[in-house]
């Protein structure tokens, strides 16, 4: 599998480039749109919710703290939901090419991961720019984002592959999961701090695998602190298991997928 991936590296790279290029083609602002979308989201939440929530954001005295908090959460959530969202319909969208050409199927999710990571990187760089404007400096702690990004990718790829493969056979999954993803977003402390949840329910948040990741992003980007190793370790194990299940399912299903597409 990895050997064929290496053999097709050129195809993977040019596909990632094409993905990026296709987003810009024939638009005046081009690449800016990759950044404008999530940032306008930040702006909307910041304008509407900051008055209600900003006061409750503990332990930081920057008046733009809430905006930074939002951006940190969205940075990880966008990567997570973009990979899952694209994996969900990946095989259905690529049905034609899968039916007609023989090439290593593993290249398809690889392209998704590559182009989502690239988008995420662009988003991160622009966020750094805004952070600088808001008087929030770049720190060495931010290097923690590299392993964290990899964990988010592994987790979302695992979930995405499992659901994407199943979605080929049961199309309801794709529909259902886009709803679930929205609910999930609101059940993760991204636009609100954990503290607004009543103490007695807070432990339920531990069941949400995205919680510890988003929390780690917050620790790093908002509080300039290294994330909590223990919860990160647990989530990495979960992510790896899910990714392995996803890969296993993907390999088992590869042959049958083309039959029903």
């Amino acid at each position: 599998m990895f050997r064929s991936l290496w053999q097709y590296r050129h195809f993977v790279l040019s596909s990632i480039y094409n993905d990026l290029f296709a987003q810009f083609a024939r638009s005046k602002l081009g690449g800016l749109w990759v950044i404008i979308n999530p940032l306008s989201q930040v702006l909307i939440y910041a304008l509407i919710l900051s008055n209600i929530l900003a006061a409750k954001l503990p332990g930081i005295d920057n008046k733009y703290a809430y905006a930074i908090y939002l951006m940190a959460g969205l940075l990880s959530w966008n990567l997570f939901s973009e990979i899952i969202g694209r994996c969900l319909n990946l095989f259905i969208e690529q049905a034609n090419i899968m039916k007609k050409m023989s090439f290593p199927r593993i290249t398809l999710p690889t392209i998704v991961v590559g182009s989502c990571m690239l988008n995420n990187l662009l988003l991160f760089i622009s966020m750094l720019g805004i952070f600088a404007l808001l008087g929030h400096q770049f720190t060495l702690v931010m290097f923690w984002l590299i392993p964290l990004t990899l964990i988010v990718v592994t987790l979302s790829l695992g979930i995405g592959l499992i659901l994407g493969v199943m979605n080929v056979f049961v199309r309801d999954i794709g529909q259902a999961f886009s709803v679930i993803l929205q609910v999930w977003f609101w059940f993760t402390p991204i636009v609100y701090p954990l503290t607004i949840i009543p103490e007695s329910y807070r432990h339920l948040m531990q069941l949400n695998p995205m919680y510890s990741l988003v929390d780690a992003y917050h620790q790093i980007l908002v509080y300039n602190q290294a994330p909590e190793i223990q919860s990160i370790a647990i989530i990495s194990v979960i992510a790896c298991v899910l990714a392995l299940v996803g890969l296993f399912l993907f390999r088992r299903a590869s042959a049958e997928m083309v039959d029903v597409l």
């Binding site: 050129h10 007609k100 050409m101 090439f103 199943m166 042959a255 049958e256």
Partner: protein, 406 residues
């Protein structure tokens, strides 16, 4: 060693009462599918280097499924396919082209999908560009291409590298006539260099001119494998075959075969060829006036009777043919026991060589509606040049040269 061997391959499309059972099967649970639809059953054949094979069959016979399994996009349910060498397929041309990218970028992408590295693609790029012949458009976005231009680029990429096996699926009619010739000669060039061809087509002349072997698929099984001419005759007979009719193949003395089929309400009992002197003949001269005589017995009351007759060359290519529907000489309401004698006269304006008579008895315009009898190679005769000047080609047409010196 064979280039491609297909061993006892079968393909079933499974459906389950619940898709969850399918998922459970991947994890090793021994669940039975509710229904298995076998589209191919026990296919066996071997292909050796340099062969050119036509795969023919009616729609739904399983041709595309077989090709997809050979290409590797579908996995066989049973049996195995062994391939020694690279396969390229000219299936849906131009698929996966991104309309916003230029022709050149799309070529990069498509060749990457075929598994080539950047350097290999860069090396082949000038050839691809030259072969496609679309000039400056090559560096314009594909969305402004005409469909013919897209086809040209797609064909140029698909055939940029000589594969060991080339699969061509109904795609020989690419673009305009000029490009068709060009793509045809590229395929021939590959063939000469040793590429094995695997062609799916309903175009008899394309298959007969390119292939030296044909495989006939019917209802998911290989029913015949052999010389293209013979297979095509059998195939035409098969199409003509309707309820309770039979297909009969007889070996002729010269080793070739004669295919006869039909429902038998009327039958050709005798066919004789007379030369210009009124003698029965097996050899006639170029341009000689000859006459064919058919004796036809009607075995049942039928609505109408049409005799079709044609001359085919040794490759099975129809030289000329028509029927009494076209000449408006339909026999209406023939009765059981009627005997008709048809005389067909024509000039043997044919090139030197061996020809055969094809005859059919049908009810209407063609053999698709009702076919009483369909007879290939009903009679074989040779044309020799007695009294004309030497010429080449498959037909005689007197050319008169005049010239003057200025």
């Amino acid at each position: 060693m064979s280039l491609l061997s297909v061993n006892n391959v079968s393909k079933a499309f499974r459906s389950y009462s619940s898709e969850w059972k399918r998922f459970a099967r991947w994890f090793g649970l021994p669940l039975k599918p509710r229904e298995e639809l076998w589209v191919l059953r026990h296919i066996n054949f071997e292909i050796h280097a340099g062969e050119a094979i036509g795969i023919i069959g009616q729609n739904g016979a399983g041709k595309s499924t077989l090709l997809k399994m050979i290409t590797g996009t579908l996995q066989p349910t049973e049996g195995e396919i062994k391939i020694n060498g690279r396969i390229a397929a000219i299936l849906e041309l131009g698929m996966g082209f991104n309309p916003e990218l230029t022709g050149r970028q799309n070529v990069f992408h498509a060749a990457g999908l075929m598994g080539f590295s950047r350097e290999e693609i860069q090396q082949a790029m000038p050839d691809i560009e030259a072969f496609a012949e679309i000039g400056d458009y090559f560096d314009q976005p594909v969305r402004i291409y005409s469909s013919g231009m897209q086809m040209r680029v797609a064909f140029a990429v698909a055939t940029a590298y000589r594969p060991e096996i080339l699969i061509v699926d109904e795609a020989l009619s690419v673009g305009d006539t000029y490009f068709q010739h060009k793509s045809f000669s590229r395929i021939r060039e590959f063939q000469e260099k040793g590429t094995t061809l695997l062609i799916v087509s309903h175009d008899r002349s394309a298959i007969q001119s390119l292939c030296n072997r044909a495989i006939l698929l019917e209802k998911g099984t290989v029913i015949k494998d052999g010389n293209p001419e013979e297979i095509f005759d059998f195939y035409s007979a098969l199409i003509a075959e309707k309820e309770n009719s039979t297909v009969e193949v007889t070996k002729l003395e010269d080793g070739k075969t004669q295919t006869s089929s039909g429902t038998g309400e009327a039958k050709i009992e005798e066919i004789v060829l007379y030369n210009s002197k009124g003698e029965t003949a097996e050899v006639v001269g170029v341009g000689e006036k000859v006459e064919l005589q058919f004796v036809i017995h009607v075995n049942e009351d039928i609505k109408s009777l049409v005799l079709g007759c044609g001359i085919k060359d040794r490759l099975g290519e129809m030289m000329f043919g028509t029927n009494t529907f076209n000449t408006r000489q339909i026999i209406n309401q023939p009765k059981d026991g009627d005997i008709f004698i048809f005389k067909v006269s024509f000039f043997a304006n044919l090139g030197v060589g061996s020809y055969s008579i094809h005859a059919s008895l049908v009810e209407e315009q063609s053999h698709i509606e009702k076919n009483f009898q369909w007879l290939d190679r009903a009679l074989v005769f040779s044309v020799v040049n007695f009294d004309k000047y030497e010429f080449v080609g498959s037909q005689w047409n007197e050319m008169n040269f005049t010239f003057e010196k200025k």
